[in-house]
């Protein structure tokens, strides 16, 4: 009922500009109410800008200073807009370089030998490193604004960290620490560091990849793998539990980690109960790191 009314008003308003006949329903409403119910439209905004008092307004000095300030704002916002475009384009390059790394790294699931896979994947890291230094160069021009634009490279960075951490684990069997990740990316914490929360999210992403790795390793006949991964993930999960997290993305990712752990435990159980794990005794922990 009301909306019909309103649309009637809208149409009459836009028509009345071209001096067509006013329709009857309008006379039921006082004209100022008709305006109140009217939705914003380009026509009214123009009318409000160039209304009857408009022409005399710009002459006053207050309006002049007002305009000056807004002109300046416009320039500043244009600047930050183009800066963001620069950042976005680098971030996109990072994204595609990361994707190449990821695709080489995925060969690990097809039971290619680890050194071969790593070598190929590492090839791209140099590119990523270079791109990050490019990003740092851009941000250096705008000191103190790292976090203003942080959102523009955040998710790319998280993915990079997850890949680096996975590669590091394949190589050494240990967790890539924050400082090590920074070093691998050639970042200097004093000017363009790796945000710790981004690092932690990246680590959670890496944990998501582990169940798949375990499954495929077992299929390929590496029955010791589940035990190693399980130990690593258990430790990682325990370490994460030391953090007091807020209700944010990181928290959600951390909550997901226990499902990775459970999946790995299931695989371990499946393997163990069938007696497939030859030396898979939890006590036999000597020098099994990075030997697979």
């Amino acid at each position: 009922m009301k909306s019909v009314f309103r649309s009637a008003i809208c149409t009459t308003l836009s028509f009345s500009l071209r001096s067509l006949n006013p329709t009857p329903p309008l006379s039921l409403l006082p004209p100022h109410l008709a305006f109140l119910h009217h939705k914003p439209s380009p026509f009214t905004s123009m009318a409000s800008g160039g209304g009857e008092i408009g022409p005399q307004a710009p002459s006053s000095p207050t309006v002049h200073t007002l305009e000056k300030q807004f002109d300046e704002f416009r320039h500043q916002l244009d600047d930050s807009g183009s800066l963001r475009e620069r950042i976005r384009s680098v971030a996109q390059e990072i994204e595609s370089a990361t994707r190449l790394t990821q695709s080489s790294l995925l060969l690990i699931h097809q039971s290619r030998p680890i050194p071969e896979v790593l070598e190929k994947a590492k090839g791209q890291i140099g590119v990523v490193r270079e791109l990050f230094s490019k990003l740092a160069d851009i941000i250096r021009e705008y000191p103190g604004q790292y976090y203003r634009y942080h959102g523009d490279w955040k998710s790319e960075t998280q993915t990079v960290v997850s890949l680096l951490a996975f590669m590091h684990w394949l190589e050494t069997g240990a967790l890539l620490l924050h400082a090590e990740a920074e070093e691998k990316l050639g970042l200097k914490p004093s000017e363009f560091g790796l945000d710790i929360e981004d690092y932690l999210v990246g680590i959670c992403f890496m944990s998501n990849d582990l169940p798949r790795y375990v499954v495929n390793q077992v299929t390929a006949g590496d029955y010791d793998c589940p035990r190693k991964v399980m130990k690593f993930l258990t430790d990682l999960h325990a370490a994460f539990r030391m953090l007091n997290l807020r209700n944010d993305f990181l928290r959600k990712k951390f909550d997901g980690m226990k499902y990775d752990l459970r999946r790995v435990e299931e695989v371990y159980y499946d393997v163990k109960i069938r007696g497939l794990a030859t030396n898979g005794d939890t006590k036999g922990e000597l020098g099994d790191v990075g030997q697979s």
């Binding site: 004209p31 905004s45 009318a47 409000s48 008092i53 976090y147 203003r148 430790d235 030391m242 007091n244």
Partner: protein, 291 residues
């Protein structure tokens, strides 16, 4: 006997939280906070033989996150206080009427200065030496509300817009000269301005019912200018969705003022005998269906 024991116990229990709070308030807290991660690391070091090598690193991350969250929490609190007290200033301004203008504004300005000295100063101290953008989400609402109150006061007093530079200049003395002072960023300023028009609308309606048509028209011109300028700027702002909805509300406010001015003009022309010729053209342009 029992009774006295119980009383004794009670007094201990009562004094304990007191003492704890006292401790917490003093700098001891900081020492404790500094100590906590250290004990964690020693724990990790002690359990070095039992293998979780990650714990040491994670205790560092944990204390980083704890510090950050605590700080964010304090900033949010300061922001809330700023919001609350700025709102009071805005209400004070709305108490304005024909004859009490000076005293009302004087009180409003005094309250505004108090907000600055007490709460914004706290925020400034908290944010000192960090990236202001990192915790922006935590303090932005308070800052916007303050902008709203400050610009509203200033408009009533001078009839002009308080510039961002002026506000930032007034923040300067609050912070330590050795570090980079807190500067309100233009996004928060613009968002605050967008809210200002809503308050100005209320003010204009109030002035009209009080018979101060002149003032209402001044507000009308001012708000139109702001809307016009913001229209150009809004799409350029980062995460502009917030601003977009504010722009719609703003247009509504502008139109409400215009309509109020209009209805006084049309129906109550006896209150304001002298009106320029261009006002008739307004009624022709705005409401042709009256004919």
């Amino acid at each position: 006997m029992f009774k006295s024991l119980a009383v004794h116990n009670l007094s201990i229990m009562a004094s304990k939280p007191q003492r704890l709070r006292h401790l917490a308030e003093s700098t001891v807290l900081q020492a404790a906070a500094a100590k906590k991660p250290r004990t964690m690391t020693t724990n990790a070091a002690a359990s070095d033989s039992d293998p979780n090598p990650m714990k040491e690193a994670f205790s560092k991350y944990a204390s980083y996150l704890n510090d950050l969250n605590d700080k964010r929490e304090r900033v949010v609190k300061a922001s809330r206080d700023i919001t609350m007290n700025s709102k009071k200033v805005i209400f004070q301004v709305h108490r304005i009427s024909k004859n009490n203008k000076e005293e009302v504004l004087e009180k409003a300005e005094k309250d505004l200065a108090a907000v600055m000295d007490q709460h914004i100063a706290r925020l400034v101290k908290e944010l000192q030496g960090t990236d202001f953008w990192k915790l922006r989400r935590a303090y932005s609402p308070g800052v916007q509300e303050y902008i709203e109150a400050a610009t509203l006061c200033n408009f009533c007093k001078t009839g002009s817009l308080l510039n961002l530079d002026q506000i930032n200049a007034s923040l300067q003395p609050l912070s330590d000269p050795s570090v980079e002072p807190l500067q309100i960023n233009l996004l928060d300023y613009l968002l605050g301005l967008a809210d200002l028009t809503g308050e100005l609308m209320r003010l204009a309606i109030g002035r009209i019912s009080d018979g101060e048509l002149e003032f209402a028209q001044k507000i009308c011109r001012f708000v139109r200018e702001i809307y016009r300028e913001l229209l150009l700027i809004a799409p350029k702002m980062e995460d502009s969705s917030d601003m977009k909805s504010k722009m719609d509300v703003m247009l509504q406010s502008v139109m409400k003022i215009e309509n109020a001015c209009f209805s006084v003009h049309v129906r109550g022309s006896e209150y304001i005998p002298l009106l320029g010729s261009e006002d008739t053209s307004f009624s022709l342009l705005g409401v042709p269906e009256m004919e």
